[in-house]
């Protein structure tokens, strides 16, 4: 696995990897080492599409030199708990997505619900996760024109990712369904349902259109 460390100010470090799987593998390794207390103190570990950011590092140059020499095991699927998210496949873009896939809306729902997803990273707004797991032939582009308001609980697709909107907001993803699951609840511990590394399955609720 090739890792390119990039400077981020005086106390940050961005490690760029070849793809999302490698970034997730490095993130998992960082969490293992943090739990084992063999990682120097860091304030934030932020995985993203192809990178992992480390912030609040006393000596980023030294840490970068160490990390690039790590032997990082590839991700193993299926470990840990799997969160089940009930979903109604009733989104306004479901028919368009199904047409792109060359299937009926009902089959599109079955394809989505039979995939095992993993939260690759979070961002955009608290509780929003970028979930990978949909086979590449089912990747779809963002909508040409973003919606000014996407309802809370919308289950949506863009590129390699599935996401669920934790609150109403503007958005350009293709809406395929709706969930009543609370993605973010400040009164709950933990507040976020989705955290990087968590596995997710979408479970159809009732009949699909």
């Amino acid at each position: 696995m090739s890792m390119r460390p990039l400077p981020v100010g005086e106390h940050g470090l961005l490690i760029e990897l070849d793809d999302g799987d490698a970034a997730e593998a490095l993130h998992a390794e960082l969490l293992r080492r943090a739990a084992a207390r063999t990682l120097p103190e860091v304030r934030e570990i932020v995985p993203a599409a192809r990178t992992v950011l480390l912030d609040g590092v006393a000596d980023p140059h030294h840490l970068a030199a160490e990390i690039v020499q790590w032997d990082i095991p590839p991700l193993t699927g299926g470990r840990g708990t799997t969160i089940e998210v009930p979903v109604r496949y009733d989104g306004p873009d479901l028919a368009d997505v199904a047409a792109r896939w060359g299937v009926t809306p009902g089959e599109a729902a079955r394809i989505h619900a039979s995939s095992l997803f993993r939260v690759a990273f979070c961002g955009f707004t608290p509780g929003f996760g970028y979930l990978t797991g949909l086979p590449e032939r089912f990747h779809v582009p963002r909508r040409a024109t973003p919606r000014t308001r996407v309802p809370v609980g919308s289950v949506a697709l863009a590129g390699p990712y599935t996401g669920v909107y934790p609150r109403s907001s503007p958005g350009g993803w293709q809406l395929i369904g709706t969930t009543d699951a609370l993605l973010w609840d400040a009164a709950r511990e933990p507040a976020a349902l989705f955290a990087p590394g968590v596995h997710v399955r979408f479970v159809p609720e009732g009949r699909t259109r």
């Binding site: 400077p7 940050g12 950011l53």
Partner: protein, 302 residues
């Protein structure tokens, strides 16, 4: 638990509850948030005998006024402004004993942008992920205060110190911000990077708690398009498609897809938080071999 210790009489342009923020949750998409001028926030707390992590009110340009339902020690720091208690002048940057029922007013900023009102015991609202800060990007924490808002105060921690040395901030004639290059300086041409350190930028009126936007020349890009989303830090200088750098402040998004040409070290961000729209901005290369420290900011602040 909130004891409704104070009522907001005049909320001002934007007044929010702020403390040291909620670092450590960026991987969940949670911004750090917290006071934009951290030294001023900490100083206000010290003046009234609070720990520096106690919550204050952060005002924007026009100050605010509150009626205290119980007597409290109060201090106003940050952007200098007239301070009154029931209309009578009171010192700025010093502990002021405000009797029960009196109105404390922090007037419009004489210069600078953000003022801090600390109350003995600290503003007591329900913490969220360990912080009482209002986050203007994600909506976490209490909403900005409005006229008539009622807030609680915690119990005073210890007697307020008799004296503390309070520097009176000068006008910031020019914001000089050193920039540590990277991580995406290679997305800009050599000419674009020269523009960054030689161009005449100004603070845009579109600045807010999320970022200080600039007006000025556009940085020429060496490559087009967007990056796949990547983590963003406080002080990141992100360059959107219009080419004008945006300096990320406390409520910045945790990930983004526009390239970050460089990062301004944290000690310089307090001056950025106090720079009025129109203030000239100069980005400088960091001096080689020297760690960046706020004491070297050439802003005229003493």
């Amino acid at each position: 638990m909130t004891d409704s210790a104070l009522t907001v009489v005049r909320a001002g342009a934007l007044t929010t509850v702020q403390d040291l923020g909620r670092p450590g949750h960026a991987h969940l998409g949670v911004p750090r948030s917290g006071a934009l001028d951290q030294p001023a926030h900490r100083l206000a707390n010290r003046l009234v005998g609070n720990p520096e992590a106690a919550a204050t009110l952060e005002t924007t340009l026009t100050g605010c006024a509150v009626r205290l339902r119980r007597a409290a020690t109060v201090a106003v720091t940050g952007a200098p402004c007239p301070v009154t208690v029931d209309g009578r002048p009171a010192p700025w940057g010093a502990p002021v004993r405000v009797p029960a029922g009196a109105v404390l007013e922090a007037g419009p900023a004489i210069h600078g942008v953000r003022g801090y009102l600390a109350f003995g015991g600290g503003v007591d609202v329900e913490p969220m992920l360990g912080s009482r800060s209002t986050d203007m990007l994600s909506g976490l924490g209490p909403p900005p205060v409005t006229d008539g808002s009622v807030l609680g105060l915690g119990p005073p921690h210890r007697p307020a110190p008799a004296v503390d040395w309070v520097p009176y901030p000068g006008v910031v004639p020019e914001l000089v911000l050193p920039v540590v290059p990277g991580p995406r300086d290679d997305w800009f041409t050599a000419a674009g990077l020269r523009t960054l350190t030689t161009g005449r930028f100004r603070v845009s009126a579109a600045s807010n708690r999320i970022g200080l936007r600039t007006e000025g020349p556009a940085l020429e890009r060496a490559r087009e398009g967007e990056l796949p989303s990547e983590g963003m830090v406080l002080g990141a200088l992100q360059v959107p498609p219009d080419g004008r750098p945006v300096l990320f402040l406390a409520d910045h998004p945790t990930t983004g897809g526009y390239p970050v040409v460089g990062v301004v070290p944290e000690p310089y961000l307090a001056a950025a938080a106090q720079a009025l729209p129109g203030t000239p901005v100069r980005f400088t290369p960091p001096r080689p071999g020297q760690p960046s420290r706020g004491s070297r900011v050439r802003t005229g602040r003493r």
